[in-house]
Amino acid sequence: MNTQLGVSVKRKEARDKVTGAAKYTADLSQTPLLHVRILASTQAHALLLGVDAAAASAMPGVRAVVTGTDAGQLLCGGILRDMPPLARDRVRYFGEPVALVVAEEAQQAMAAAAAIQVRYSPLSPVTTIEEALVPDPVLVHENLGSYQRMEADIYPRPGTNLFHAVKVRKGDMERGWALSDETVEGTFHLPQSDHAAMETRAVRCSISPGGVIDITTASQSPFEVRELISRYFDVPQGMVAVHVPLVGGAFGGKAAVQLEVLAVLASRAVDGACVSLVNSREQDMATSPCHMGMRAELKLGARRTGEITAARMVFHLNAGAYADISPKLAKAVAVDCSGPYRFPNIDCDSFGVYTNAPYATSYRGFGHAELFFCLERMMDKLADALGMDPFELRAVNALKEGDLTATQVKATRSNMGDLVCCLDRLKSLINWSEGARIQEPGGLIRAKGMACLCKTSDTPTDASAAATVSFLPDGTVALNCAAVEIGPGIRTAMAQILAETLRMDVGRVYVNMEVDTQTAPYYWKTVASMTTYMMGRAVRAAALDARRQLLALGAVAMRCPEEDLEVENERVYLKADPLMFAAFRDLATGYKYGNGNAVGGPVIGRGSYVMDHLTLLDKDTGKGKAGRSWTLGAQAVEVEYDPAQHTYRLLKAATVLDAGKVLNPKTARGVVMGGMSMGLGLATREEFVQAPGGVEGATSFRTYKMLRIGEEPEYLVDFVETPQVDAPFGARGIAEHGVIGMPAALANAVAKAAGVDIEELPVTPELIWRKKGRP
């Protein structure tokens, strides 16, 4: 049997997707179906004086209008319960849901939403981190101290706009500065932006007369939806059924639980009738959670030879109006604040900050694209100051086996991978030896920039996954697991792991694309690039469990000891004579003797995995283990810069990741390229722009610009394979990592080309012109 790994297996849902037959949440037909429309706030910060729905309620087809008061005193939030599902008393961002209309037709719901009269009394909005941090600031949340904390390690500061703080203290800063010959500083600003998944968020909900809340949703977190809906509406988890069909792109944005709560409120208002809530593109941008912004101040000290001796860093995350997952984002930034480098002395503070902007949730990279933009710009500034090659500076500082990370986790080859090898590979991929800044004929400049990256998982310490493997009477295998197919072919990867473990053809493994919390075993959620690892381990365990059962039954069937048997090609065979075998189809539902007697019964393999050895971070030093391993790598961007106009063109973008083991080369390349494209979008154009008063100025693709075909560079992707010994077949997570180093690599290339310092994104020609001193 050939291996099922390292080969480009076509994803299982490919044919349905390319023929347009694949069904997403909003495609599912259901009758009768009522339609929900959200009325969103037109103010960024205001007291809500009244919501008059009388006229709207009387409009044709309208079945119910739901307002904040209909949700009682309910406050939502997975970590800090600070968010009313519909605004009550005040609105805190432009686009915040204020009311819901449920109507027979979608256009009736839209028309009625426009007829709701809302009276606001505008308050001064907090639109920047700087405004949020002034002494005696306008408070986004006046009752911060009263909010219920769902986790022990969250530290809100009532009377301020800070809802969480993470500290990292390592080594001796005084000594670190004393040892440094050179210091560099930077102050960075990153805007909020959108996930812009192709499928906007969508949900269906009904409540049966018996009280079962049935939800179909485009979500990365079906089990968290179940848990939170159960908690918010005080119903047992068994009375909440969550279905997730194929999801049309998520990027972290569909890990948050928002529309599901609104859909339950809407369905409840119409006696449990099935309601559909599908975001318009504009509402997906303005109303549903976004990608965080950041302000950061960094200072690095280093010896003449490049070794970094001290790092002082302060990160303020612009989380917008509600905390959602941002406390974990603040933690993730702190945990990886020294990147894949050996910084002996670190003083780092990472804060979650409220502003009157759309609230943030996880976004591909989970804070790391922002962190690495700052860190890797600093590394280039330091290289410049020291007169060192940027690759050399990174190699000098690379974590070696036995070094401690920022939160004092010991680095090993297995948990970290091989940065120096990635750097070497990248150097040749991007042809670094020809020079990083080349004057072209015609006055243009070709320049290259690079950046390193690394990321660990930052899951809860007890995040877990489970899977079952069952057999069809024809001997083929069915995998049941709750990894949501959000695009990267993860369910195909799980099938590969199963097939490889049972040494059978992956084409004979079936894995359905829908997740149903009523039938699938538990999985924490499909985030953090952790599915390959966590679910992969559960699937492998389930496959091994099934294999044990097949061997035991095979031993009965073939009247021999189990140790004489082997499993391959859907057969249990005698090692000594492979032609003596029992086929899976003869064992799958129990083995039947010639006389009709049967033994065994259907084989079901089960596997579970829970993260082990993880700890919370120490409140004062940050010491602790936030993830089991890292995926690291190095990236580069080549641009062609026009010094007369300050415009530039993307020529090449390159990534080398230490993937541990590449399970599926083409999907691996695809997922990394996709990440790179997103990273270049952040680097070059994507941003939310707030007009005075906090009104979002870019809530459609007319003004929110994304990279288009024709603007893409040539993508170069390569992998290093340093196995992570505890991972399935050594494979590390790679789903997010393509995005992480791109903004820094692009900024480093432009900084090199134009001879300017770049400390903000996106890098537009106007920014370069401004940095050039407005000639």
Binding site: S700, R702, P762
Partner: protein, 267 residues
């Protein structure tokens, strides 16, 4: 999705269209002229525009004319940008049209819609302003041919109930040496930071820009003669927008004018 109902009319002559609109107007139906629909549909679905009826001009032959006759090129106002670009009859307008929105939308947006719409850039006005165009305006008394510059300053100025049926330009002017350049904040497909059109007629150059100010405008001849000082002349017009600051637009315009003059062989 458009959340309100409206009536749809498809007249077949200019007169029928004019009368249809007048009747609807009188009946309080709040009619709008309709052609490509890109702007009206977008605005209606986000609730920033409502109407009770649309009068679609695409079926009016006068509005879809595309011809060179008696020394002038006639372009119907309901021609799409793609049709104008593909015709090759007025190369400067074709180049301009081919850089408005994206390829898909160019197949919907019409010349008249681009001139009469609320999106302020109206880039297709630039070649018309530069090349002696006339506007064919449908009025109560029939189609009147007026100098384009008389009906367009920043935006189309017509009486309620009138509509633009077509434009024409002298063939000679449509064939003048010309250049078109569009600069955006960053993307190839975007609203203009500055779009510039220029023609050379003998020794003189005429130039018009969009995106720079709050509406399309002609660059005064004395400003062009000033070369790099052009921005001084127009400094007051530069407007901040999502695409860029006024100060940056001045820098960009200066570059673009210099480049345009060089391309047209003028020092």
């Amino acid at each position: 999705m458009i959340p309100f109902d409206f009536d749809y009319y498809a007249p077949e002559t200019t007169g029928e269209a004019f009368n249809c609109y007048a009747k609807l107007s009188k009946a309080g139906k709040r009619p709008v002229w309709y052609a490509g629909g890109t702007e009206l549909i977008s605005m209606a679905r986000v609730g920033s525009r409502t109407f009770g009826a649309v009068v679609d001009l695409k079926g009016v032959p006068d509005c879809t004319r595309l011809a060179a006759e008696r020394g002038r090129i006639v372009l119907g106002a309901a021609l799409t940008l793609t049709e104008i670009a593909r015709s090759g009859l007025f190369p400067l307008l074709g180049s301009t049209a081919a850089r408005i929105a994206d390829h898909t939308i160019q197949g919907k947006i019409t010349l008249g819609g681009n001139l009469a719409g609320t999106i302020q850039y109206r880039e297709s006005a630039l070649p018309l302003l530069l090349c002696g165009a006339r506007a064919h305006v449908m009025t109560a008394g029939g189609v009147e041919k007026r100098p384009f510059s008389q009906v367009f300053s920043g935006r189309l100025h017509l009486e309620e109930g009138e509509f633009l049926a077509a434009v024409d330009v002298p063939e000679r002017e449509a064939a003048l040496p010309h250049c078109h350049a569009k600069r955006t904040r960053q993307d190839k497909i975007d609203y203009p930071l500055v779009t510039l059109c220029a023609v050379r007629d003998g020794g003189s150059v005429r130039c018009a820009v969009s995106g720079y100010g709050s509406a399309p405008l002609l660059v005064p001849a004395q400003a062009l003669a000033g070369g790099a000082a052009v921005c001084g002349e127009l400094a007051g017009e530069a407007a901040d927008s999502l695409s860029g600051s006024g100060a940056y637009k001045r820098f960009v315009l200066e570059n673009m004018v210099g480049q345009a003059l060089a391309n047209l062989g003028v020092k």
